[in-house]
């Protein structure tokens, strides 16, 4: 039978669609496009302005800024620094994460739940604070570890924070939790029958690992590596805190320095041109990431069947394995402990018995007494709650429309909402600064909220759409057939079922919004200070105990929100 439409032309039913309407899809697409594309267009326009002019003054276009970049001798250094920094960090991060993930997910190591919870809650710790802590630990003058070294050997300590290896090590440690979560998922979702089949057919332990487990995990591991690589290339806070003093400029810090120099006029044109360069690199990496993910699909080992992974019996190795993992976790917690210590002193000093007697809450009292700090705390509360709730609401609607809608509009919405993933936060911050510089929004908390919605939208949409895709379509169809409208269906059936993922996305955005320094620092005026920017200014003064006290407060507040919710989500998803 020939495949050909023989029916005469009939009017196609326009309103007759069982999915969301085209109007709703178009509106959502427009909102996302304004959020994402608007700032980027201004960024491009600024990069093409002649040097020493303000953005949006006149209609002159020139490639001068790009010529300056390409001709300058600093470009090779910048690229090399960025590459060395990123490669070094992911090697450290991946090795640590893979080791911990294997122990936690695939062995019977004691205390594995504790380690998993510790790493999952790690997202509540701002990288800025880690940077502060590590500076106090290993700065060449009076770093605690260096002091310990000279106490035992009598020589000056060998460690220095202001070096490439220290920057790499600290960043490697700080990306470990992210890599752990991703690699843990890989280990957990691998059907143990694939391994069992290898053993049954005569394979030894080594043969099964080499021929079955590693090849199956390879695409996944590669995609995790690229993902972390992108994150490190985009990283701004640690290169700012550690790298500037060490005179190790990378692309992200260069953009910042050009737009907010200590002396002279901001060179927005050149800064924007560097931003475009970083954006292009990030986009290329993102394309690579999708290629690898696509290749991984053919090995898809997630069968959807419920199974419990085989756990390796560690036997006598259990205790050393746990000890080593505990050391790794301690390594991550160490900078927090130093800050905790410092926050109880009026002036920073090494931990000694003598210093113990001078511990007090004076710093907290003094810091909290300042009006600037109080208003910063209020601003932070407004920022994190408004931006996280708004992001999740927008992401829920967008992903619902994108997964249930049909046609190119739905696909465009999906791509558009994911695209901020490739935009480095520092570039987005720069672009938002340029767009709103001469509007009343500049200098308000509102502009920070817009910035955070834009950069966290991609993650939130991904979380929500993967939750909605997994939801069997018949569950919502059943409600419709029972006579419920779309709003009742969403409220009574869909949202209660994806509630854990919604909550998970919400605390992720909340924690990241609270710990972020990039957006608040680039858009900082004296009216929209938040805790992270106040911490940064106190550190710069330097008022180390003050910064430490605020850091401690921020971490404690975040832990108080994140830990109970994480525990609740873990319990809720076990019940299913």
């Amino acid at each position: 039978m020939a495949i050909q439409t023989t029916s005469p032309a009939r009017p196609r039913p326009r309103a007759a669609s069982s999915g969301p309407s085209r109007l709703a899809l178009s509106v959502a697409l427009l909102v996302i496009a304004c959020l994402v594309l608007g700032p980027l267009l201004i960024l491009l326009r600024t990069a093409l302005t002649p040097p020493d002019t303000f953005p949006l003054d006149g209609w002159e276009f020139t490639f001068d800024n790009f010529r300056t970049i390409l001709a300058s001798s600093e470009l090779p250094t910048l690229l090399l620094n960025t590459a060395v920094y990123a490669f070094g960090s992911i090697i450290i991060g991946l090795v640590m994460a893979a080791w911990l993930a294997w122990l936690v997910e695939r062995t019977d190591m004691p205390g594995r739940t504790f380690i998993r919870i510790a790493l999952f809650t790690w997202m509540a710790v701002p990288p800025v604070i880690l940077g502060f802590g590590w500076i106090l630990l290993i700065n060449p003058g009076n770093g605690i570890l260096n002091a310990l070294w000279s106490f035992f050997t009598g020589e000056a300590g060998p460690l220095t924070i202001y070096s490439m290896w220290a920057l790499i090590f600290i960043t490697g440690v700080s990306v470990t939790p992210t890599a752990f979560v991703m690699i843990g998922g890989l280990f957990r979702n691998m059907d143990p029958q694939l391994e069992t089949a290898g053993f049954v057919h005569g394979g030894g332990r080594w043969a099964v690992a080499r021929r079955i487990v590693i090849p199956l995990l390879m695409p996944g591991l590669l995609s995790v590596a690229i993902y972390v690589f992108i994150a490190v290339v985009q990283a701004f806070e640690l290169p700012l805190i550690v790298g500037l003093t060490a005179r190790i400029p990378v692309l992200s810090t260069r953009i910042y320095l050009l737009s907010t120099p200590d002396v002279g006029v901001p060179n927005y044109g050149l800064s924007a041109a560097f931003g475009i360069l970083l954006l292009m690199i990030a986009c290329l990496l993102m394309l690579l990431y999708f290629r690898v993910i696509g290749a991984g699909e053919k090995y898809k080992v997630v069968t959807g069947k419920a199974f419990h992974p085989r756990r390796v019996h560690l036997g006598p190795w259990a205790v050393p394995a746990f000890a080593l993992s505990a050391v790794l976790v301690f390594l991550m917690v160490m900078p927090l402990l130093v800050l905790f210590w410092t926050s109880f002193l009026r002036f920073y000093e090494l931990p000694t018995f003598d210093a113990l007697t001078r511990m007090s809450l004076d710093t907290y009292r003094e810091v909290l007494g300042r009006t600037a700090v109080r208003s910063a705390i209020l601003n932070t509360v407004i920022l994190v709650f408004v931006s996280s709730i708004a992001t999740m609401a927008l992401a829920s609607v967008v992903s619902w429309l994108a997964t249930r809608g049909q046609g190119w509009l739905a696909r465009a919405l999906d791509v558009m909402s994911f695209s901020p993933m490739a935009i480095p936060p520092i570039v987005m911050a720069m672009a938002i600064l340029l767009l709103y510089l001469r509007t009343p929004l500049y200098g308000s908390v509102m502009i920070l909220i817009i910035g955070h919605i834009t950069i966290y939208l991609a993650f939130a949409t991904r979380t929500m759409s993967s939750a909605l895709v997994q939801l069997h379509k018949e569950l919502s169809d059943a409600a419709m057939v029972c006579g419920a409208g779309w709003w009742t269906t969403l409220r009574r059936i869909v949202l209660p079922l994806v509630w854990p993922q919604l909550l998970n996305g919400w605390i992720w955005v909340l924690a990241h919004s609270a710990r972020d320094l990039t957006i608040p620092l680039l858009l900082m005026t004296n009216k929209n200070m938040v805790m992270s920017t106040v911490m940064w200014t106190l550190w710069d003064v330097p008022d180390l105990p003050g910064a430490a006290a605020l850091s401690t407060l921020l971490v404690l507040a975040l832990l108080l929100i994140v830990v109970p919710i994480q525990l609740w989500i873990a319990r809720a998803s076990e019940r299913r």
Binding site: M1, I3, T5, S7, R10, P11, R12, P13, R14, A15, A16, S17, S18, H472, E474, L475, D477, A478, A479, M480, V481, C482, G483, A484, G485, W486, T488, R492, I493, P496, L497, R576
Partner: protein, 368 residues
């Protein structure tokens, strides 16, 4: 009660493939109180038809009327959403909401549907529906704590609690194990019949369709092949697809040589490789046309009883003992015929068998 006229549905081409014509002008009517089965292989479009009736899928053209009201009319842009159609439906996955108790699942249509009821009435009706599926004692259980069979009963209770005009069942038995399926088949038909709800039932299993339905529509590649009672479809298949999909059959190609009328009956003579076959069954094939002669394995008897019968002789080449009967293969010339023997009749392999089949058991259909 339900009238479908000429609905068509074409899915747009994906990259590198042709557009798929899922429905090619499907029309049928279902009378009030009927139990109607849509039977076909997977991918034949039967689920698309059911989803179009439910309002979960939009056909490209045609009309669908439930009762005297059109719920879909492409020409006049009429489209009622699923929630406006007031139906009951049992999904293939059952779609029991895992975050609710059994009671809340069943109460949903009465609490959130179009026809809302006061609390007391809801309680009474839900318990009555649960009683009908023998799950009264499970009302407060959380849905995930139920077995497959129990989940299915909850799905049925939810679909009938608001006494819908039309009940749609999407392969409701396919996820159950064989024994449970046999009991549920009886029970489901009995529940639906006692309520008198018009029911549309999608299945790929001919045993389910034969055992439960008043009428069956056999569907293949988006077209209805035949509509009729189970015995109609079995004894008088309209084409080779129906003959082979509903039960098994021997299909022998041939050519109609003559049509004779005698004593109110029409006799067709068909020349085939295994000799002339005579048929008195109703047929539309004209003299001189190519035809297929369809004979069910059960139509043969190994021992002649006399009367008007076709007779074939061949060697027994294979037999499979299946307990309830013996599946036998007999070679007549180059053609292998399949026949069913009584389990107690032992025949040595290779022996010559004489098969006889009455004229009215040979069905002549047009060759494709």
């Amino acid at each position: 009660m339900l009238a479908i006229e000429h609905i068509e549905k074409t899915y747009a081409a994906r990259k590198g493939s042709h557009p798929v014509r899922a429905l090619r002008g499907v029309s049928f009517e279902v009378a009030r109180g009927d139990f109607f089965a849509l039977l076909g292989p997977s991918g034949c479009g039967k689920t698309t038809i059911l989803q179009s009736i439910a309002g979960l899928e939009t056909p490209d053209s045609g009309t669908i009327r439930i009762g005297d009201r059109p719920v879909f009319d492409a020409a006049n842009s009429v489209f009622l959403t699923a929630s406006q159609r007031m139906l009951g439906m049992v999904f293939q996955s059952y779609a029991i909401w895992p975050h609710m108790t059994v009671f809340d699942n069943v109460a949903f249509p009465l609490v959130h549907g179009r026809d809302r009821k006061p609390r007391e009435e809801v309680r009474k009706r839900v318990m009555a529906a649960l009683a009908r599926v023998k799950l009264e004692s499970f009302a407060d259980r959380l849905a995930p704590h139920l077995s497959g069979g129990q989940q299915q009963r909850v799905a049925i209770a939810r679909a009938i609690v608001h006494e819908p005009r039309l009940l749609l069942l999407d392969e409701p038995l396919s996820n159950l194990d064989a024994r449970l399926r046999d009991t549920m088949r009886e029970e489901l038909r009995q529940i639906v019949k006692s309520l008198g709800i018009t029911t549309i039932f999608v299945t790929h299993d001919q045993v389910e369709a034969m055992g439960m339905a008043d009428r069956i529509a056999v569907i293949n590649q988006g077209e209805i092949m035949q509509i009729g009672s189970p015995s109609d479809v079995y004894f008088s298949p309209r084409n080779a697809f129906v003959a082979n999909f509903v039960g098994r059959s021997n299909t022998i190609t041939g050519k109609v040589t003559s049509i004779e009328r005698s004593g109110g009956q029409t006799l067709r003579r068909v020349a085939t490789p295994i000799g002339e076959i005579c048929s008195t069954a109703d047929s539309e094939v004209k003299a001189g046309e190519k035809a297929l002669c369809i004979i069910r394995p059960q139509a043969f008897s190994a021992f002649a009883a006399g009367g008007e019968e076709n007779i074939f002789e061949g060697a027994l080449t294979g037999q499979t003992f299946l307990g309830d009967f013996i599946d036998a293969t007999i070679a007549v010339g180059d053609t292998q015929l399949c026949a069913v023997f009584n389990s107690y009749d032992k025949t040595p392999p290779g022996s010559t068998i004489r098969l006889t089949v009455p004229f009215d058991r040979c069905v002549i259909v047009p060759a494709d």
